[in-house]
Symmetry: C2
Subunit: 140 residues, 2 copies
DNA sequence: TTTGTATTTGCAACTAGTTTCAATAAAAAC
DNA sequence: GTTTTTATTGAAACTAGTTGCAAATACAAA
């Protein structure tokens, strides 16, 4: 099929089968520079193999998400997007006025995480969060 | 119909019509102690007026959300719930293991808001956030 | 290489939520 | 109280995502 990347290796290590459909979903995510949507993944696959069903794409993403190999982020307007967990965690500031997306380093949320752990004994996931609001340009 | 609460007054002040359907949605939200789901609101309405359509409930919630009169929170598993904005803002820690929901005061996120404003010139909404992770009992 | 089997897939039916549009009814004007 | 205007509603069609199940196939074992 195609050279399997890091996610594919982990999948088979965990005992899941490496089907062509799964490899195509993995490639689409790994080859994508930024975040990729279900439609984009599906379009990419159908272009080569039209018989592949969209439900397989949804199921594969659900699996990858559950195993923590991929992170899902809601960047607003129901636009859920996917990203390889291998490429590191980060967060986004999403402007609800102009739609601008500002990337945010993971460290910005670390003091919040500490507070929650100390005061509420709660281990916050916060791997890939979208914070909605207004950017500089739109707040004037 | 029914004694209109604070939200109803604001709606008509803003020039929106006070229909029986809207008043019923408002009452359901205002009368609910905690967060209420679409199905719960709809079930409550249909019990009295079976001819009311679910799309009207969705449209009313969309309107109230847009006007900031009601806050929407995703408490996990696609279970979106609604809450009167008049009753104050707060946040939730949701345990992905046992489903426990811990309420969190708004102030816990104020230092994060400050940081985002100072370092990124971004005005974060963060009115009603759900943070996913693991509670004390499940993290052992 | 062939066989066996449990996992995975495609398909079709289903659910939640959205949208379009003609009919209805709030609220303003008379 | 009646008429007029235009926002709002109900109905039905539509879209995105999910689920059940029989058929297909990845992979282990022979």
């Amino acid at each position: 099929m195609k050279q399997p990347g890091g996610i594919a290796n982990k999948l088979s290590e965990l005992g899941y089968r490496l089907t062509p459909q799964r490899i195509m979903v993995l490639s689409a995510i790994e080859d994508s520079d930024n975040h990729i949507s279900v439609e984009e993944i599906y379009a990419q696959i159908v272009a080569k193999y039209p018989q592949v069903n969209i439900s397989t794409v949804y199921r594969t993403l659900e699996l990858l998400k559950r195993l923590g190999l991929v992170t899902e982020t809601d960047l607003g307007g129901g636009r859920v997007r996917y990203h390889s967990a291998e490429k590191g965690h980060h967060h986004h500031l999403v402007c609800q006025e102009c739609g601008a997306i500002i990337d945010l380093d993971e460290s910005v949320l670390s003091s919040l995480k500490d507070t929650l752990l100390r005061e509420y004994k709660f281990i916050a996931g916060l791997r890939h969060l979208a914070i909605f609001g207004r950017c500089v340009n739109c707040s004037r």
